[in-house]
Structures are given as C-alpha cells and as structure tokens.
Amino acid sequence: MKKLLPYWLVAPYVVHMLVFVAFPVVFSVVLTFHRWNIISPMEFIGPDNYVRLFKDRLFWQALFNTFRFLLVHIPLQIGIALGLAELLNRTLRGAAFFRAAFFLPVIVSGVVVTILWQQLLSFNSGMLNRLIAGIGLPRVAWLDDPAVAMYSIAIMATWKNVGLYVILFLVGLQTVPPQYYEAADLEGATNWQKFRYITLPMINPTIFTVVVLSTIGGFSLFIEPYIMTEGGPLNSTLSAVMYIYQQAFQYYHMGYSATLGFFFALLILAVVAIQKRYVEQEI
C-alpha cells in the first residue's frame, strides 16, 4: 500500500492531464483528417482540410490581421510599460497609487473593458469623437473604418494589459544592482548610455518574458474584435482565433477548425522560438 501511495497522490493530476489536455490534443489531431459537424458521424477525408487551409483566403487575411495587431500592440506595450516602470522605479510621490492605477484595467473583465471602449470610440456618441468635433476636426470612424479599426483595438488592448507588464518591468528594474549605475556615473555616462548599456542588458530576461507573453496574448486576440466589431468592417479585425471559433461554433466545421487550430499552434511555437533566438541574443 505504501508503495502505491505516490501513484495515488499524483493520480488526480495525471487524470486531469489525460482528460483535459492529452485527450483533446490527440482528438483534435484525429479531427484534422475528418469532416464532422457534431451531429452527424465523422467522415474521413484525408488531408483535405490541410489543402483547404492553404487555399482559404479568409484564414490568411485573419492571420495577416493578427500580425498587423501584434506589430502595433507589442512595441507599444513594451515601450509604454518600460517607460512607466522607469518612472515608477524612481522615488516619486504617489508611486504606490500609480502602480495600483496602472494595474487596475488588468483585473477588470475583458468584456467590461471592451464595452467601455466601444462606447468611448462610438462614431456618433463616443467621448473621443465629441472631443475631436469640439475642436472643429472631422470625426473619426474608429471602429467603422477598415483602415483604422484594428489599430483602435490594438490601442485598447495595450491600455488593458500594460499594467501587468509595468509590474514585470518594475521587478526587473529593481534587480539591477545600483553599484553599476554608480560606477557609470563616475565614468561620466549619460542617462541614455546607462539605460542602453546597463538597464537593457540587465533586464533582458524580463524583456524576453514580456515579448513572449505579449505575443501569445496577442495571438489569442478574440474578445475585443468579437464584441466591438464582430470581425468587421470588411473582415479587417477578424483575428485568427476568431476565425477558428467561427468555423467551429458558427458553421460547425469541427475538422477544419481543428486543422486551423493545429496549424496556428505550430505557428505560435515557431514565432516564439524565433523570438527566443533573437531577443535573447540581441540586447
């Protein structure tokens, strides 16, 4: 009995892994070779779903939209978070208040934040457009113009998440030994030189963590376009995850949706691997 005890202790975790991770992964791989609409029996179709994926113009557009979002969202998020963390790392009055204030949007429900921003960005009654109209400028279709909508979402997502990365950077900055800065001061280094040659290399692991977390978070973009724009206008805010969701739960193309999901997971893995190789070495 004593011999079996360790197995009993790990059993709940193993069972959980098997049921909620291993089985869905294996099942979804099997699904990629089938056509299945949930209510009819599965039909084996070989690699047809993969062939369809490469010909699916809308999927590639959704992927392009997601990258477009990342291209704005990640630099914006890292730049703002690092800047705010630098400010908060100094002995400022009310620093504790600002730390809490910047973190607040992170803990507010994504749905609530999205609805708030939807009101804020509304063409006719949004506060932002009222301000713009108030100073005599033409209103902007923040969510209704295909050229603007994804950037509006990127700004909103940055506002929502930046607090988390401020905290991560703050922790990173506080691990840099002050002696390095004292030595640099003696050598007559400028603030920029200290930031470039001491701070950045020292917080490199934090930067890598933030880049990876932002990338994975950005790839899973769903709630914001789903609620604010439903993927429109003209599919300009249709994200890859939203498209996968539509295929599964709007059209019940379970096999094709699993194929898209599988391909997308591999893509995220590849992007993170590239980031690991370059971000870690570059700085």
């Binding site: 509304s122 006719n124 209704d144 003209l234």
Partner: protein, 429 residues
Amino acid sequence: MTKWLIGFIVLVVAGSCSQDEGNRPMVFWCSNNAGEIAFAKEFTERWQRSRTDKPLRFQPIPEGQSSEEIILASVVGKTTPDIYANMWQGSVEMYAKAHVLIPLDTLKGFADFIRSRCDSSVIREITSADGHIYQVPWKVNPIMTLSNRQALNSLRGIRPPFSYTSFLEAGRQLKHQNGDGYTDRWLGYTEVKAIWYQRLFNFYPLYLAASNGAPLIVNNRAAFNNRYAVEVFRFLQNLYKNDYFPRERLSAARDPFIDERIATQFSGPWQVSYLEKFKKPGFEYDFWPMPVPEALASSNKPVYTYGDPKNIVIFNTCRDPQAAWEFVRTLIDSQGDLRLMELTGQFPRRKQLDTDPYFAPYFSRNPRTKPFARQVRHIKGVDNCAVIVEVFDIISQEYEACVIYNRKTPEAAIRDAANAVDVLLENNE
C-alpha cells in the same frame, strides 16, 4: 459480499431508470417569451385534461446565446425534447440530414392535415431534399416597410408603396431637409453588421420582392446571380452612397424610428405592439410592402417578402411520435392559430388567413395587423439547404464590400458570392 452489494445497486439503478423512461411525459419546448409561454401553458393544460393517457409537460427553451445553440447542444447530448416549437426553417435541413428528426409525412393524418392548412408552394418549400417533411409550418413574421406617416407626407410627390426610384427620391428630399450640412435625419436604417442573419432583414426580403419569390439555390447551385440580386445590391448601395442610410450604428439607447431620426425601417409585426406602447401622442405610422424595381411597381403584382418562418418539429428521441403529432395538431388548428395571434401577436402560416371569417373578428379588433395578414399570402422562407447559414454569410461578406463600403460593383459582388456559394455547395455534396 461486495459483489452482492454492487449487483444489488446495479439492479436498483437499472430498474429505476427503466421505470422513469416508461412513465416519462412527453416534453414540449416552446420559445421563452411571455406570449409563447402563455400559449404553450394553455394548450398543454388542455391536452392534459383531455388525454390523461399521454402525459405531456411544457418547458420554455433553456436560456442561451441563441435557441439554435441550445437545440444543437441538446441534439449532441441526446437531451432533445419530444416536440420543439420555434425551429428556424433554415436549421431543419441540417437536422434532417443528421437523422435526428421524425419524418412527419410518415405519421397518420399528417399529409391530409397539412394539405388543408397550406397551399402547395408552402408544402414544396418545407419538403426536404430526401422527399420527406420534417417540419410543421407554424408561424411567420413578414418583413415589411414601416414608415413615419408625417415624415412622408412632408415630401413632395412621394406616396407609398415604394419603387426603388421613389424610395431614393424620398431619401434625397429628406437629406435636403437636414439643411445644416450634418445629417441628423435619415430615410432609414438597416443593420450594417456583416453577420449572416442580418441579411434576412434587408437583402433577402428585397431580393424576394424583386424576383417574385425566387430561390437562392436551385439543384444545389447558386441561383441568385441574376438581375434581381444585382438591382437589390445597387439600390442598397445607392442608399448608403448618397447618405440616405447611415453606415454607423445608431445608438440602441433610443429607438431611432420612434425618435424620428429615421423615417422608414424594414421590420415585422412585432413592432406593432412596441410602437403602440412607446410612440408619442400623434405619431402615426404605416406598413407597406418592400420597395421593388420600377417594372414590378407599375405591374400591380403582389410583392413577396421574407416571412421569417418558425416551425414545429418532433425529435427522434420521442417515444410516441403519433401522440406528439396529435398534440401539435391542436396547436395549429383554427382555434390554436387564433390563440397564437391573440397571445403573441404573431401570424400562423395558413392559407387565406386574411379572408377566413373565423379570424375576421381578430383583425377587426387589431386593424394595425391587417397589412401583415394580407402579406402572409406572399411570403417565402429560406431554401432547404444544410449550409444555408454559410450561404447567407457569403452574401453578407459581399454585401459589406459592395453595399456598405462601395468597394465592388453590384455585378462583381453578386458574381463573386454566387461563385463562392457554388464552391461551398460542391464541397458539401
């Protein structure tokens, strides 16, 4: 000892299960709005009194994002009710193909009853690709053009019913009334979102009106690459291009029609009770057929529209389909149809509704609903196609590109939509 105990438990559980199944009453799911719950309650109680041998209970469909989603979940979980009233006609073919519905034409008395209630075109419309009928045509909400009487009276030479030209002219005159350069009053508003079901309330009724009720799909091929669809796209495109309809979503906080920010709306009979409740004193409105091309407007032919039909089905989990059908029959006889109108304000899909003397007192009491009763003669549902949602989604994508954003010509948009639908239908054969 342990073996005996386990055996005993298994026997007790198995026994209790089979006993439960045997005595289980039939379950009838209705929609979860107050009117339909009252309707279901009344007819279930009546059945319970007269047929004690066939127990039945009703239940509003469980809450969810949409009733379609709940039905799908119950089909997957094999927890479907015996009878479901409120099935969107477009969903039936998918379930019929999956063999989860009872073919009603195999039940005693169904064929005769349905022939007496519906005309042949309706029966053709609800007949599945395999030749069976899986749905009882139950209720409809025809989409018509709602108009603000005072607003239209203020225009020169505009008298409904509308042709495309007179509708656009109304838009031009209303825009001119704005005066200050800002459009704060529009001819109308219809949802701009590219989500598929929104096309059931703008493109599709206009297409049915222009084409005299032509189908979108014939012999598993797109049949809408025609001048009617192109004209509808062009008409709608002009409404947006000229700023007669706003591209931006109007605030839902205030009803734009009651608020007189829009003069017309494509809407259904559900609007009547709403308007009667919330309209300002002296506010007058009318319902008219959908706008049509000039040639049709001058021909005095009846104008078709989308009827938004919701039907009744019996699932194959039902242990006594014949009894279920007998209950359904009580919902859709003359008395059932009258109570449907009285309790819900919706219209039964039966022939000669507007001329049948049995229903005349109802229409005398509710004169606002008369245009809909007349329109019930000329309505269509959607084509029997297992992937009809995707067909509308494809049309929606092109609608957005052409009508809303003017990125394509109507000809190119309709051609591209038809080609995409053909590919879709080929892949789903």
